[in-house]
Each structure stands twice: as structure tokens, then as C-alpha cells.
Symmetry: C2
Subunit: 141 residues, 2 copies
DNA sequence: ATATCAGATTAGATATAGTCTAACTACTGG
DNA sequence: CCAGTAGTTAGACTATATCTAATCTGATAT
């Protein structure tokens, strides 16, 4: 489908379009969960050619730096990744740690006075609670 | 100062006020940075009595569960902690990973339709960019 | 087409962050 | 004073991520 788009976005960032990197990006774009690095590695390795752990982490780092992928740190768990396609907020489940997308809406920025000399790059909203799967069970707590 | 307040808040949560736990909380309350677990351990161990790594992590976990301390996960770095005093947002520096407080203001909640069956507990805003110390250097990038 | 070489990949070693275990200690209520 | 519960501890262990050094690849110029 948009293989060409992926290739172009790599080149725009000065990154070669290697099979491993392409497979990683294609997986992230079609994947509607927010996989961990380990899950990404496993998924890519079901295809051909395979990729190593180091390469997966290298590529994730490069793609995050290029602004093509977003990394979401989760307390006490492995980081999650997603392709920065449509703008969205994140919901993190207290119980299972899963990260889910929530419809985007604009967020008011802080007053520039309170920012001081800081340089603001982005601004994200994180919701916490119980996901649809964990809510019934967790209700007892 | 508010030693009694700390003691009371522990008891309200069903936690004993032990010297190690008290020292941890007192340090977090007077500390205006957002220290990592390792920094907290080191600070507490400059006093008497000392605390161990396991105890520090145990106490941090208990205090987070009790809602007295907040944990902030940072991509690729150790988690940061702060005493949940005044409500505030967080600014995370892309370059040095430091977490800083930003004046609190209300954030619009998502429409309940998009939440579905999820149970919302809290909602925090995370700003990213370069802190005042890193901004000048990072400006070149 | 082919040579070139910066950029990419790899396995495995290493580092870092956090958790677990099992023995021990210290409060608390009776 | 005793029993029971909660807390502490050192050190082993696990999980996550990074580094190293050797090797390979693919875009570019020839």
C-alpha cells in the first residue's frame, strides 16, 4: 500500500530504507496496539529477513529521533511504541499497562511566563485508569 | 515542620511511620527536583538510620499506591518521583531527562463517548522540549 | 556494471533499573 | 511477655536496554 510513502519518509530523514527498518515501520503502521520493543522484534522476525535485538533498538531510536515514531514510557514496564500517524492522546491502564489511543483534541498551552527559558516541542495528554478489559475486575479495589 | 502531617498521612493509609519511610517522604517533600530512586536512596543514606535499596523501592511502591507520591516514567531513563503536594503538570527535557513542575491549570476531559468502558482515574499533561539549562546548547539542532 | 564506503546489521557482552527471597527486626495489641 | 503483623535487609535474580567490534549492504560515482 504506502510502501513508497515509508521509503520517502525515511529518505527525507536521511535514513536508508533497509529491509529491517522497513519491516519495523510497516508493522508499526498496521499495528493498532502499542507494542513493546520485544513484541516488535518478534513480529518482524516472523517475516523475512530477520532482525536482531540491537538493530531493532537502533532503528527505534533513529525513528524516534526522526519524529516518525513515538515512544511512550510506562511506569514499571517496558516502553511502548507507535507510528506517529494521526495525532492522538494516550490512555494507560493501571492494571495491565496497555497503551491505547484516545481521540485527539487540542490542549491549551501553558502561559509563556511559566515556561521561562524552556523551549516547548510538544505537549501530550496522558489519561490513566482501567481499560475496558480490566475495568470490571479492577472495580473491586 | 510538618512531621506530624507526614505521620498522619501515613496512618490514614494504614502505613506505619518507620524511620526509613519517614526520611524518604520528608526528603521528597523538601526536594524541588524530581529525583530517581537511586538519588532518593543516596539522600536518605546521608542521614541516620540508613535504608536499603529494597526498602526504598518497597516504600516508593507503597506510597505511590497510597496516592502520596507520584511516579513519572521517562523514556530511556530511570523513573522520577515527587511528593503529590500541589497539583502541577510536568515538563520533561529531551536532552537531560530532568522533570520539572509547571503551573497547574485545568485540562479538558475527553468526551465520554471516546472513553467507552474505560474508567478514568487521572489525567496529566506532559510537556516536552528543552529545559532552561539545555535550551541554549540544543538550539543548534 | 563495479568499486567504494558511510551507514546498517549482528551476536553476545555489558550496563542499568527494578523485583524477589528468605532471614531477621520492631512495633502493636492482648 | 507473647504472638502476630508489618517492615527491613543483603544479595541473588530478572527485565530492559545499550555497547562493542566484526561484518555486511546498498546508494553513489565512476
Amino acid at each position: 500500500m504506502d510502501a513508497a510513502a515509508i521509503k520517502r519518509s525515511f529518505e527525507d530523514s536521511g535514513l536508508r530504507c533497509t529491509p529491517q527498518r522497513y519491516a519495523l515501520m510497516a508493522f508499526l503502521m498496521e499495528c493498532h496496539r502499542h507494542p513493546t520493543a520485544a513484541e516488535i522484534l518478534e513480529a518482524v522476525n516472523r517475516l523475512d529477513p530477520r532482525s536482531s535485538r540491537a538493530t531493532t533498538y537502533n532503528n527505534l531510536r533513529d525513528l524516534v529521533q526522526a519524529g516518525l515514531v513515538r515512544e511512550v514510557a510506562v511506569e514499571g514496564r517496558a516502553a511502548r511504541f507507535d507510528a506517529k500517524g494521526v495525532h492522538h492522546h494516550h490512555f494507560i491502564c493501571d492494571h495491565c499497562g496497555n497503551v491505547e489511543d484516545l481521540e485527539w483534541y487540542d490542549v491549551p498551552r501553558p502561559r509563556s511566563r511559566s515556561l521561562g527559558k524552556r523551549v516547548l516541542r510538544e505537549c501530550e495528554l496522558i489519561f490513566r485508569g482501567l481499560c475496558a478489559k480490566c475495568a470490571p475486575r479492577g472495580a473491586s479495589r
